[in-house]
């Protein structure tokens, strides 16, 4: 046999012996042999040559032997796929075994064998196991779906396992629920657009119930999943917080940290004046402190997270300074983290304690730690002004120790203190100068030179000191060279008489003898400045310096918010957004903290809605026909076969319908951290294109019910571009539902059937809420009206112009693409009426940049009529004021994605031109102008 031939090649005495034993008749001997094989495997020896022999032992009643063989199979099946097939029958049989332990074991092991041929056989047993009567089997099977999805995602979807998995969320057994959630989360991560974890109050409730009863690991999965939910309001948020809080007392630190994540996130939504808010803040501190008494590895992760938490909410731990005091035998990585947090917590109240500690640390053994401690003293001085003097004297004490690296660090930080508090501590310069010779690190030398240059007028021998550095100019690092150049020029400007020679020397060293372009450039600039206009030179070189910031190493706020949403993950350990290291195949979802309620702002505060989320969105270019075709063909765009009425546009139904189209729902629903606003561009100042004008270029359209302005149909897809199919259409909003009304005309010679429609991602997440209802075949020269209800929960991507929508329509002939634009006014929601106070507060809060102004010409309505008319289009008047013959209408509207737009409409009696100022909580929205215009000018209802 071929196999035997290969085998003999790798055969050692040991393997040969094992082979004989494996084929022995005695059960005991077999088992011992398999044990030996496993033992060799665990230490990394290659025993794959024994594959057929081990697999032969699989048919056994002995559970231990079976387990051992399974262990072996999992390790080597991949390398011997043809052989592994031999095992399939046994697996399938075991999945039917009366013992649940064996059923579970079989389905578990099969999932671990990553061989395509085997997975095909896995489907049927898996389906049974997912519905098994025994919860142990069900929970194992749930995990198996995730494994299978990893090997062959398409197969899992085709077989409907995802739906079964979703059903398991409602299972009676909490362990099954936890595993189903874990499996779904894992699958959802690799399918960012799928609507797998559809979080709504009902499922949240189920999860919270399961949370109390499942194992610690299950609790982690559930909590992490909860963290992706965005509560509807502060009350829901509070009730979730209340139910999660007991997890803070769990013995497993991962559970605690996951609970902290959920609380930190949902707390954002609670009004600050709520009693519960304060209670919650108090409850967070003790568990965090307790994490610090765990094993050092746990402490490290906890500290990295606490570092984020104190930046976001310093009040939680402000009284707990002492727990961050460094212990002698803490591992170094814990020490450094503790030090960092100590500085963040330092305040006037505790500065004395902190300083005493830092001074203590500065005499420790570990060099890195000592350096950081010395720097920390400097940072305290800068942060807490009252302590500056004490810090300086502590630093001077440390300089007296003459320990080389301590002195150097001290000088570097003293430089910063001088900058922060000019003309206050210069008396210590003399002491510093004494240590000039011992400085050998570039940073310290540069700092010292800066000090000498800056205070040249107070140091008698400044020229001598600087000259001494000049001797080895070329051996210095660039940092030192640049400082030296600047310092000598400063000196010259202060004491021009004595130092002419010195400045000549340094300028020529910098410009003629140096290869470094930075140095040369700076040299030339000084030279020219000094030679042309010494007064200007003085103004430039000795200009007042900007203040340095109090906190250093602060994480930028948007990143911090994102990291807070990722507490407990690797991202939080590295303080980098997950996109920086989670591979691209997982959807990069930027998580955001939800906006706070009650502050008068909308769900999204203006500063969070921009930056990161948007920059991620790829430019909105219609992909070339070829790519799209390929993409669309992958998707099974089945024409609808049901004859029922179009589904109502409740969100639940929409999701179902979306799935039908295979597109899946947008990831943002799953995580939904107010992401739709995040997709709005920060500054979107591209003028609305002419296409829009064309669309709206009609003063009097068709009369409509309810006074909503609805533009008439225009041709979107001309017949010549679409093999005879012509589509014209428009958008209307009826009873809160956006509809796309289309006329499809067949101008070709043959019958058209099998219509289906898809949207590309767009700015407001518009997506079909149901299939395109074209039920009868479209004969030549026939037209048909189709109304397509739209939802606004689809995937979001910024488009240009903002209201651009790219559509793909398929029929039996081909797939066609067109783009059209919808009126923004369609997106104004019915609940867009803001409360008066909230309106006032929000109006004030919105930055000026977000404001835009435009005029509406030739409008002959009085203010009340205008107000009524606008109300029909969901632009609500909040207040009216009359000032000097002008009527001012204050209006609000809310876009479907939660962005509020506030407007001030000025109507002057007798003047047909209105002035509108709008401001949006995100940034100025283009198209608003047009929206207003057309809402105003549409005919009377």
């Amino acid at each position: 046999m071929m196999c035997d031939f290969l085998f003999s090649l790798v055969c050692t005495g040991e393997i040969f012996e094992l082979k004989a034993e494996l084929n022995s008749d005695k059960k005991e001997k077999k088992k011992e042999a398999v044990k030996k094989v496993i033992a060799s495997m665990t230490v990394g020896k290659d025993v794959s040559a024994l594959f057929p022999d081990v697999v032969n032992c699989m048919q056994t009643d002995n559970l231990e032997l079976k387990k051992l063989v399974y262990l072996y199979l999992m390790n080597y099946a991949k390398s011997q796929p043809d052989m592994a097939i031999m095992a399939v029958n046994t697996f399938v049989k075991d999945c039917e075994d009366p013992n649940p332990l064996i059923r579970a074991l079989a389905v578990r092991t099969m999932g671990c064998i990553r061989v395509d041929k085997i997975t095909e056989y896995l489907c049927e047993p898996l389906r049974k196991c997912l519905k098994d009567e025994d919860p142990y089997v069900r929970k194992t099977a749930a995990v198996c779906v995730a494994k299978l999805h990893d090997i062959n995602a398409q197969l899992v979807e085709d077989q409907g396992f995802l739906d079964t998995l979703k059903d398991l969320i409602s299972d009676s057994n909490p362990m099954v629920v936890a595993n189903a959630v874990a499996a779904l989360s894992e699958i959802a991560e690799s399918h960012p657009n799928s609507n797998l974890l559809d979080l709504n109050p009902q499922t949240i409730n189920k999860l919270l119930t399961a949370l109390n009863e499942c194992t610690e690991w299950g609790q982690i999965f559930i909590l992490d999943c909860l963290a992706n939910y965005t509560p509807r309001d502060d009350r829901e948020s509070q009730s979730i917080c209340e139910r999660v809080t007991p997890r803070l007392s769990h013995a497993n630190s991962a559970v605690v940290l996951s609970a902290v994540k959920v609380l930190m996130k949902f707390m954002e939504m609670l009004p600050k004046d709520l009693d519960y808010y304060g209670t919650l803040l108090k409850k967070l501190a003790p568990p965090l402190v307790t994490l610090l008494s765990a094993e050092p590895e746990l402490q490290y992760v906890a500290l990295r997270n606490i570092n984020l938490i104190v930046q976001r909410r310093p009040e939680i731990l402000k009284h707990e300074m002492k727990v961050f005091f460094v212990k002698y035998n803490d591992p170094i990585y814990v020490k450094l983290e503790k030090l960092d947090i100590m500085i963040r917590l330092a305040s006037q109240a505790n500065i004395a304690q902190v300083l005493a500690e830092l001074k203590e640390y500065a005499t420790e053994v570990d060099v890195d730690f000592v350096r950081k401690a010395v720097r920390a003293i400097g940072r305290c001085a800068i942060k807490v002004e009252q302590s500056a003097e004490r810090c300086v004297s502590t630093l001077l004490d440390l300089i007296q120790t003459k320990v080389n690296y301590v002195v150097q660090e001290a000088i570097v930080v003293i430089k910063d203190i001088f900058r922060k508090y000019p003309n206050k501590y210069e008396s210590v310069i003399a002491t510093l100068c004494e240590n000039l010779d011992s400085l050998d690190e570039p940073e310290a030398r540069a700092a010292m030179i800066w000090i000498v240059g800056e205070y040249a007028e107070r140091i008698d021998n400044a020229d001598e000191l600087l000259e001494s550095f000049l001797e080895g100019f070329h051996d210095e690092s660039t940092q030192v060279q640049l400082q030296l150049l600047t310092a000598i020029v400063k000196l010259f400007l202060k004491k021009p008489t004595e130092t002419q020679e010195l400045v000549q020397q340094v300028l020529s060293l910098a410009t003629q003898d140096s290869d470094n372009p930075d140095l040369r450039d700076r040299g030339y600039i000084y030279w020219r400045l000094l030679s042309t206009d010494p007064v200007a030179a003085k103004e430039v070189v000795l200009a007042e310096k900007p203040l340095i910031s109090e906190e250093t190493d602060l994480i930028e706020p948007t990143l911090l918010e994102e990291l807070i949403c990722h507490i407990g993950t690797l991202a939080s350990v590295y303080h980098k957004p997950p996109s920086a290291f989670v591979e691209g195949s997982r959807g990069v979802q930027h998580k955001r903290l939800p906006g706070s309620a009650g502050s008068g702002e909308s769900v999204e505060s203006p500063d969070t809605g921009s930056a990161a989320g948007v920059s991620e969105a790829p430019p909105a270019v219609i992909p070339s026909q070829g790519d799209l075709l390929g993409d669309l063909l992958n998707l099974d765009l089945t024409p609808p076969t049901t004859t029922g009425p179009p589904p109502p546009a409740s969100s639940g139904m929409q999701m179902g319908a979306m799935d039908l189209l295979g597109g899946g729902l947008d990831s943002l629903m799953g995580t939904g951290f107010g992401a739709p606003p995040a997709a709005m561009p920060a500054s979107f100042n591209v003028p609305v294109s002419g296409g829009l004008d064309d669309l709206f270029d009609l003063g009097g359209g068709v009369g409509m019910p309810m006074g909503v302005f609805n533009p008439p149909k225009t041709v979107w897809l001309p017949a010549m571009k679409a093999k005879g199919l012509e589509i014209s259409g428009t958008f209307v909003r009826r009873a809160g539902v956006i509809q796309m009304e289309m006329t499809l005309t067949n101008k070709a010679m043959s019958v058209m059937t099998d219509f289906a429609i898809q949207f590309n991602r767009n700015s407001f997440g518009l997506a079909p809420a149901g299939p395109l209802q074209v039920l009868t075949p479209l004969s030549p020269n026939q037209s048909i009206e189709a109304a397509l209800p739209l939802s606004t929960v689809g995937p979001v991507m910024k488009m240009e112009p903002l209201n651009n929508l790219q559509v793909a329509v398929k029929n039996n002939i081909d797939v066609f693409y067109f783009s059209c634009q919808y009126p923004i006014s369609m997106l104004f929601a019915e609940d867009g009426k803001m409360e008066r106070q909230v309106f006032l507060a929000t109006w004030k809060d919105i930055p000026n940049d977000n404001e835009s102004q435009f005029q509406i010409k030739d409008c002959h309505l009085n203010s009340d009529a205008a107000s009524n008319k606008l109300q029909g289009s969901n632009i609500f008047t909040i207040a009216k004021r009359t000032v000097e013959g002008q009527d001012m209408l204050y209006q609000s509207m809310k876009l479907t994605n939660g962005i509020w737009v506030l407007a001030e409409l000025r109507v002057q009696a007798g003047n047909p031109n209105y002035t509108v100022s709008t401001c949006a909580t995100v940034s100025a929205l283009d198209g608003l102008c047009l929206a207003y215009k057309f809402c105003m000018t549409n005919p009377e209802p």
Partner: protein, 501 residues
Amino acid sequence: MILQQQISVELNMRNSPSDPPCQSALFKGGHQNITFHQHVNPSQFIVWELLQDGPICRRLFSNSGNFWHTGTISCNIPELAAEMIHSLFLINHSGDIFLEKHWKSVISRSVCDYFFEAKEKAVDPENVSPVLQTPHHYLITIYRDKLFFLSVIQTEVPPLFVIEFLHRVADTIQDYFGECSESVIMDNVVTVYELLEEMLDNGFPLATESNVLKEMIRPPTILRSVVNTLTGGSNVGDTLPTGQLSNIPWRRAGVKYTNNEAYFDVIEEIDAILDKSGSTVFAEIQGVIEACVRLTGMPDLTLSFMNPRLLDDVSFHPCVRFKRWESERVLSFIPPDGNFTLMNYHVSSQNLVAIPVYVKQSITFFEMGPCGRLDITIGPKQTMGKTVEALMVTIHMPKAVLSANLTPTQGNYTYDLATKVLVWDIGKLNPQKLPNLRGSLSLQAGAPKPEDNPSLNIDLKIQQVAISGLKVSRLDMYGEKYKPFKGVKYLTKAGKFQVRT
């Protein structure tokens, strides 16, 4: 699908791994046909390299044998897989990998090289950072009992999750075999392997409760191995553990004892830092209640304290009903069978923590001559009227200290030249005759006066008292009829108890 986010993968072609890429393009994951125009040297092979956003997901696949000038090839670009813990390596103190377990595909041991590099740099094994980033993976390590448990992960997982799990693995090994050491693991390598398989499935922890595990895989005992050899029985349980899915997964059904007993040990550790003058810089108490419960049936216990308000933060075994703690400050629970940790608690620095001993010390080094003096006296401070036992002082001396010539009035001392650690083992503290250690230290000739101050670590034990003052008032049992034997013990120990000089 136009609606799906495009998963793009950068594919670089190189003639050998070290060459710069000669052609690269973006592709989606999944099955792809790739057209390329590339002159390939027939003697070399092409390396396909997948580059994605992060550095972790780089995979090489080689294509030897065939070569093309231009053409189209089909290939399956992997959509990268997710799992929690990919692999586990156990590494001993000297850096040998002695056990590996892969939950998915086999990852080469060479991945540990990044860890060895970090270990080299860190000098002390304790100082190796627990989370390391390598170009392809993350390594999360714990250091326990002189062994490194190194896990390889590829995707974003909660690191605490992994660390907790690794500690649980170590706990389980300790629990099964009495100790967690290389030799014990190697002696029971198959059992360990079976355990690991039982504990984690595709990255999801499966069974980590020792009760459940012990029913699935029986711990080795001498008797059992004899019986097994005679009867051909096995160490693997063949029925589903009863606790696994009930609402009390930690307890199995049908427990029977002839002697019913429940013991609770309240153990407190004082973590403290005292400064030179002996005043407290920081002190807190970490407490734990360890239980050993052997009771028949399904007993429902209630443990109440005299002074529960003392506790600042608590964390419980999952069996404790949190609601009752919140409302009544009692511990109500159906206990697991056998030994378990009922609760951990924390009495923080806000409360006054009693410090049981005081230390008078002076360690001085003279500017002149290579010597120094040491004088340490320890006396009782707040001991709640109990005797301080097992008193021990450990001092990490500066590097320059060559030897110590000291005289203890009680106990004995050792000075380890290699590690520069001075240990003074005192034993019982006699309040009438305070122990003292004094004498001279000799320094390396010519060495400068040491800059760093050594600091003293104190170890001690006080029996019969919980230093926080916590007291159990009563233990009640419901649900069963018999009278159990009950007992509570108290013990106070020094945790990280440090005196600065």
